[in-house]
């Protein structure tokens, strides 16, 4: 016997999209909600991906304190295919939303916030790296090397204003992904 599952796209009350892999055939020592034994001796069970089963499973999953402490509840859910989940671009996964056509898409405004966070974190790391290189160059390097590193730091420091504008102007996820720290 083999594991079987359904993918459920769940929209939470804050608009966040969660993908739940609901097991419909699996193994264990006890039956989960809505399941019956296929072979009790070996522990294989099965259950339908009915609304009743999905609802019960989502109730259990989202009763976790992580969700209840934020007041998050299930707004809606829809069965999607694994191919649809695999096809979804995970670059800005936390900005996912379910489109009207049932496909996984992006909330562009949320994606822009994520893009800023990501680029700023990356810029911070790059700045730290340049600081180290500059320190070494000032001790052992040439004046030319020092000046080049200083210029790179200046460029990087000035880059946020350009990036902010590019992010604000982006109209698609593809445009957003194309924005980098480099010119």
């Amino acid at each position: 016997m083999k594991i079987a599952q359904k993918h459920i796209a769940v929209t939470l009350s804050d608009g966040h999209l969660v993908i739940v892999g609901l097991l419909t055939t699996a193994r264990g020592s006890a039956l989960p909600y809505g399941a019956r034994w296929l072979d009790q001796a070996s522990g294989w069970w099965t259950r339908p991906a009915s609304n009743e089963v999905i609802f019960a499973e989502l109730q259990r999953t989202f009763s976790n304190p992580h969700f209840t402490s934020q007041g998050l509840t299930v707004l809606s859910y829809q069965v999607v295919t694994e191919a649809e989940v695999l096809a979804a671009d995970r670059t800005f996964r936390n900005a996912w939303k379910l489109e009207a056509n049932g496909k996984i898409g992006h909330d562009l405004a949320k994606a822009k916030v994520l893009a800023v966070d990501y680029l700023w974190a990356k810029r911070q790391k790059l700045m730290e790296k340049l600081d180290k290189e500059l320190m070494h160059a000032e001790i052992r390097g040439t004046a030319q090397q020092v000046n080049a590193l200083k210029q790179r730091k200046t460029d990087l420091a000035n880059r946020p204003n350009q990036i902010k504008q590019a992010i604000a102007d982006a109209t698609t996820i593809t445009e957003l992904k194309a924005i980098t720290l480099e010119d």
């Binding site: 739940v20 892999g21 097991l23 020592s29 976790n64």
Partner: protein, 253 residues
């Protein structure tokens, strides 16, 4: 050894259900120092009731039974066998048990009884299977662990799963009902059977070949039936591992 030293002493085999019992006895007679070996193949016992398999020694003689073999030659009938020693007044049961078809029991000169199965292999001394309660108590040394109840032992993992990060595809699992991709680098596991409380141990790990951003796996918001796994990251996003693995140890509700 098994001694017969009185004129009323004898060894009997009592058959419970009619089958086809073949008995062989090897013993020595001691007649004032003169030792005479005797081997005796008893005629097949096809009825029920008591049958003398080692007779009484004569006056001033002793028998020392070296070997007694009892074989159920029936093709299908199992039967209860009772081997006893009597001195004419009191009778003692030496061995009693069921012989299935083609099984045998042998008494050797060391005084040891050994059973053999229909393939001629020695039958082990089997402990009875432990119940769920006995497995959970984990204290008995007189019952045995069986595959169907092994998972009830407190030291045995109660649930586990391995799943991909990019599609929530569950690759393998035990006692898991669902896995939810809730954020980049975050999954929520829902267990099929809740633990008794939140004092269960969660162990998680990540599969990540490149090791560029993902550095470790932690868990949080552990509840009786759910737990959240997190990949500890260096960057703000892009921290999904190739696969997640987790297991839980504790007491089921």
């Amino acid at each position: 050894m098994l001694l017969l030293d009185g004129t009323s002493d004898l060894v009997k085999v009592t058959v419970g259900t009619a089958a086809d019992i073949e008995v062989h006895a090897s013993y020595v007679e001691n007649n004032a120092g003169t030792i005479t070996p005797i081997s005796d193949n008893i005629a097949s016992i096809t009825g029920t009731g008591a049958n003398t398999v080692v007779p009484s020694p004569g006056a001033s003689k002793q028998f020392n039974v070296k070997l007694l073999s009892i074989y159920n030659n029936h093709s299908s009938q199992a039967t209860l066998i009772t081997v006893s020693h009597t001195d004419g007044t009191d009778e003692s049961v030496l061995w009693e048990g069921t012989l299935n078809a083609s099984e045998s029991v042998v008494f050797d000169q060391m005084g040891v009884w050994t059973m053999y199965d229909s393939s001629g292999n020695q039958k082990g001394t089997a402990f009875p299977a432990a119940t769920q309660a006995e497995m959970e108590a984990a204290s008995s040394t007189t019952v045995s662990v069986t595959p169907g109840r092994q998972h009830y032992h407190p030291g045995h993992p109660k649930c586990w799963s391995k799943n991909t990060a990019n599609s929530t595809t569950i690759l393998g699992s035990y006692n898991v009902a669902s896995v939810a991709d809730t954020n980049t680098g975050v999954v929520t596991i829902t267990i099929a059977t809740d633990f008794a409380d939140t004092n269960w141990a969660c162990k998680c790990s990540l599969e990540e070949a490149t090791l560029t951003t993902v550095t470790d796996c932690t868990y949080s918001s552990l509840a009786a039936g759910t737990v959240i796994l997190n990949s500890a990251v260096e960057a703000a996003s892009g921290s999904d591992p190739s696969t997640w693995s987790f297991m839980g140890l504790g007491d089921h509700a």
